[in-house]
Amino acid sequence: MSHQDSAIQTAEEHGHSLQMGESNFAGPDRPTWELYATCVHCGLCLNHCPTYRVLGMEMDSPRGRIYQVLQVDAGRLPIAESFVTHIDRCLDCRACESACPSGVQYGHIVERARAQIEQHYQRPWLARQIRSFFYRHVLGDRKRLSQIATLLRFYQRSGLQSLAQHCGALKLIGMAELDRLQPRVDDRFFFEQFGQVFPASGERRARVAFHAGCIASVAFSALNEATVRVLTKNGIEVCVPAGQNCCGALQAHAGFRDEARALARQNIAAMLDDRFDAVVTNAAGCGSTLKEYGDLLREDGQCSDAERFAEKVKDVTEFLSSIGLRPPERQMKLKATYQDPCHLAHGQRIRNPPRELLRAVGIELEEMPHSDQCCGSAGSYNVTQNELSMKILDAKMNDVSSTSAELVVTANVGCMLQLRAGMDRAGLNLPVKHVIEVLDECY
Amino acid sequence: MSSGISIRHDIVPQLEQLLGPEAVFVSDLQRYSIDGVLPTAVARPGSAEQIPALLKIANEQNWTVVSFGGGTRQQVGQTIERIDIVLSTERLDKIENYDPGDLTIAVQSGARVDSVSTACAQHRQLLALEAPAGATIGGALAANESGPLRAGFGAPRDFCIGVNFVTGDGVKGRGGGRVVKNVAGYDLMKLMIGSFGTLGVIVSANFKLFPLAQQTATFITEFDSVAQAIQVRDWLLRSPLAPISAELINPTASEYLTNRAPRDPDSWAPEAPSQQKKRWMLALRFAGSDRLLARCRKELAFASPRDLTEAEQMAFWRAVAGFEATAIERHRNGMIFHVSAPLAESQNVIEAAQGAATDYNFVASTIARVTVGTLVIAFLPLAVDPPGATQFASAASHFRSRLSRGASAVVMRCPLEAKPQFDLWGSTPSDIALMRKIKRAFDPNNILNRGRFLVE
């Protein structure tokens, strides 16, 4: 209304060059008016946003990011350094979606904004090369991922890593934090299990396709194996379809939506099958993306398949809790605290199932404050926005240490890595485990 | 700012012209004398509309004005050297609007607090304003009166929802309105409450009412020391119990809650506490159903309280509310403090008063509103070797020096001859410079209660 005019007048009066005009968005994957106009800028999201809590500025809040998207669409703000900085800083944790009374689909908005950035913004040369290599040529390519993982394994095992750590070389080049965050590469990759079927023990209660994930298959094979064991011990037949691929989450979050779409199509083709009662994943980030294939492929003909597929996707905790655990062989008498992975709590609205499973094996849960706030891992965020990520992590560690828990449990590999790095930083000595690892110890 | 060029012989004819002769009095002025100072004239406007005009002229002519309700607090503050006009609100005594369904009432400032309360009680509703007998609505607000019910219902700032007033230069001001929730405009109620008539003349006010309790119970517990009593108070503050009154009464104060006929005021002496078996008394009053009261009784059982009967309750609380009046009635030379201090300081305040009183030949009688943090403390002179004028000042300064910076101790009454000896208002944690600015803005020529208040 008039105030809007006055805003522009004010801007002009004071010599700012912000003019309304043509939208600066173009091409596919535009954030639409229908998406962002549901935001009534009430601000209820602010305090739930990890970056706002740390930085205290509107630009780094969900409301502010939506406003920036709106301004780009109104032609008042270019897709330039400032816009990119603040959109990049978003963890895409979607805690704001849980807080939002208007049901704003923030994740969809920010992913589209990132798609627009990829289309219209020239990042510096090196960043461009790395991002393109990583998102286009590594994650979705089993062979190349294996090669890189093997190299990394050599670095980790040959003594090079410890040499680098001890001589301070990493600190010197500012890589010490990043080094701490890298996963330990497995001796044997889970890719070897692709195409296998693991029969249910005892009476078969269900049959599922297991989505193993890309990085999880080279760095968390043990967790994947544990997942298979826990499922089969609970009477579930587990197939690991050979044609599956990376879920495309990291690509979609980074704005590489075409790459994500290609992967989505592969996964649907490999795993949408009436023989399976569900498609199960043990990674919250993957699950949340798999469940949103419908939105990803909206402009595709495959939309209805994608939606049917999405309905079948279940987080492993969600699935186990829905069919009920068989009585465990052992009880675990421990006091633990549970960190909600963002893409489970906010992305999939799953909060109780993991907690129920933990209680079912005898764990006493003590809630930490802000358990559903991001730990700062957020896919590749802890690498790309390391400094901010570490601030968020330190706050998380404060919350953890305010409990008397002997164990921290979560349900996503990215969170596990981050939390372990946090323990290191804070000098806490608590083990960090996946819900499935805890269950595995009880069967 | 002082008298200067006012033409005082004009006052009466001008007032008569303005208000009509029936509204201006020059006889029977004794009733309106304040600290022995007689006004030149008494104006008793019959309509609120006359007040702005009156104050406008007074402001122009530099006539000093004292607004006057029931006269129950006119002795507060420094003596006013010259009073040209007493503006009595006694004819502005109507209830302007009362719809029991809304639980609100609008009253003119000259209405007596007790008669408005009675009107509300007929609809089983409570006006939580407690004031000395005879006080008016306007006066009670100006003096920020409160009593034992403050624990349950708050102070005037909590239930006065609107106020109409006229500034010193005759401009009509208003804050709030007739609805219980309202943030339109500045909260001028807060400014008028407790301003002792220095910022404007209150013309009418609106209040939020409360449903009258079906029944109440009063429990009296006794203690040998103040520390024990405060311990129970601290327990109470953390318990789920919510008394509507919670008063800690020191052993000497309890003497003033009985109906013994006053002896000769000048020779009445409080009996020395040490010779008495009297103890510290914590009086708690609760409102609610039988089951609720039974629960309170159960929770308090550890302190083995005495339950007052219905008739005893009435008498007891009337006596508590009348403590100040009783004390003054028996000791014309008493000094009364109204103290407000952080809750954790209650015991310190009580002991500081005791100490300062003893040092200067007084006995301190204290009633502490212990869940609120306000106290009424009477420094009562011993008949043997009664204190001289400067001793009041010394006792007060000694007492105040032992309070924390957040506390206030205002002298509400002391002998006339002691008044010039010291600062009756004491220090305040609030910003004086701002108060002075506000005074100048609302009463530019300083005609209202000139010389009386803390900001002078």
Partner: protein, 484 residues
């Protein structure tokens, strides 16, 4: 227009990363929770009182206005820079300075989030009573500025009833103390008059509030009606019965359906209105009153009265209420929320009037009430891309508030006047009454350095010049999504 000098002076005071002066950053501070817009020249993020004071001194000498801002959730445009200047964000002054259980007080910096204080108090069995619906985001500094209320103000009062001491920085940079931890302080009640001054008196840099015991028992009842008038009559009947619930909230049928779609709180979709009634206190009192309240509701025509079985169900019922405004965003791209107050007994006729206004302007109007204290929040739905409809919406809003005034009510119960309702102040207050208020403001803020052109209508404020059209809400709308 402004020299590089001011930015660098500000940076000297608060540090390089605590000043914004680029247009693309400043535009993020041109909005708050309301419909208003206005871009500042600078945004600063002070971390302590001394910095606030230094900023004020600088602003004074440079004749720049300063607009304090908390979380920017306000609904009346209080945090909007109407004519540029410095937005002073208190978001980084967010420390709880002291929790003093012995004195039943807490002292906080202004940027502390309302619910964060209650969360910090909970382990000791206490909470901060004012509970605006935005409490999970709004700051206590903002609550002080707006004198915020909430559903539970019916029994526990608004912010002013819970503030006893404030450290403020005045427009000239002087640091002043108003009140203390005591219940009252000798002299004028400065904290009392400061609360609700909407950032036009000074900047609160430390706030001492009362803390309250968490109630032993809470009962939440949902009373369901087939006729909205019966719901309105229940409110009056409860008063007559002598019961003061902790909260009485009302949602009309249209609103509760919109909310139910989001929250699944269990509001029956086919009803015409629900009352959410909360009782708190000792177990015994709550149980007894719950029965009386149920009986009163049924007598007044409720088709069903439910009591929340457990804390989860209670939270769910409240979630429906507390997120109601936002939930409307799912139904309509834009809405305009009003904040009128009427005497309780006038609720039935006011509802009829609102319906009439809606019909007259062909607008859907949902109703959410703090029914117990007569504070209504009609939500007028519109599509801001439709200029005609937008005009009708603003007109409807005005008609509703004018009706509130005509029955002895007020134009705002808790959202504040800000820049949204400035004009209506002249309908509510006479010229002389407004002049008295302007005098008071001058005592604190003589040159209107702080939050200019707010609260008092522009004609009252001789020192301020207003561009035509600014103060009115009837100018054409430029782009839809910027409105609700």
């Amino acid at each position: 227009m402004f020299s590089f000098g001011i930015a660098s002076k500000l940076k000297k005071i608060v540090g390089r990363d605590s000043v914004l002066d680029r247009a693309e950053d400043l535009m993020l501070y041109e909005y708050d929770g309301s419909l208003a817009r206005g871009m500042p020249n600078f945004v600063v993020f002070p971390q302590n009182t001394e910095q606030v004071s230094a900023i004020m001194k600088l602003a004074c000498s440079e004749q720049l206005s300063v607009i304090p801002r908390g979380a920017g959730t306000g609904l009346s445009g209080g945090a909007i820079a109407r004519r540029g200047g410095i937005v002073l964000s208190l978001a980084r002054m967010n420390r709880i300075l002291e929790i003093d259980v012995a004195n039943l007080r807490a002292t906080v910096q202004p940027g502390v989030v309302n619910l964060d204080l209650s969360a910090a108090l909970a382990p000791q069995g206490f909470y901060f009573a004012p509970d605006p619906s935005s409490q999970k985001a709004c700051t206590i500094g903002g609550n002080v500025a707006e004198n915020s209320g909430g559903p539970h103000t019916l029994v526990s009062g608004v912010t002013v009833n819970h503030v006893t001491g404030i450290e403020v920085v005045l427009p000239d940079g002087r640091i002043a103390q108003l009140g203390s931890k005591s219940a009252n302080a000798a002299g004028y009640d400065l904290p009392g008059v400061f609360v609700g001054s909407e950032g036009t008196f000074g900047i609160a840099t430390a706030i001492t509030v009362k803390i309250c015991r968490l109630p032993e028992s809470v009962a939440t009842l949902l009373s369901i009606y087939d006729d909205v008038q019966d719901a309105a009559n229940t409110v009056v009947a409860l008063t007559t019965e002598g019961i003061t619930p902790a909260a009485i909230e009302m949602l009309d049928g249209w609103t509760l359906r919109a909310v139910e779609a989001y929250v699944h709180a269990g509001y029956p979709l086919d009803s015409a209105a629900v009352l959410l009634i909360e009782l708190e206190g000792l177990r015994e009192a709550v149980d007894e009153q719950a029965e009386i309240v149920s009986a009163v509701c049924r007598r007044a025509g409720a088709r069903e009265v439910r009591r929340a079985k457990d804390e989860n169900e209670r939270q769910l019922l409240w979630k429906g209420r507390k997120t109601a405004f936002g939930a409307i965003g799912r139904v309509s791209p834009s809405y305009y929320v009003q904040d009128g107050v009427i005497p309780r007994t006038r609720v039935p006729e006011t509802l009829r009037k609102i319906e009439e206004v809606g019909k007259k302007h062909s607008l859907t109007i949902g109703n959410i009430f703090h029914a117990g204290d007569g504070n209504l929040h009609p939500l007028i739905l519109f599509d801001a891309r439709d200029e005609q409809q937008t005009r009708r919406t603003l007109e409807a809003g005005r008609e509703i508030l004018e009706f509130c005034i005509s029955v002895g009510g007020s134009i705002t119960g808790e959202h504040g006047v800000g820049m949204e309702k400035q004009d209506l102040m002249s309908s509510l207050f006479s010229d002389s009454e407004l002049e008295v208020m302007a005098r008071l403001r001058k005592c604190f803020n003589p040159d209107s350095v702080l939050n200019p052109q707010k609260l008092l209508p522009s004609i009252r404020t001789c020192r301020e010049t207003v561009m035509p059209g600014h103060a009115s809400l009837d100018a054409p709308v430029a782009s839809g999504a910027e409105l609700r």
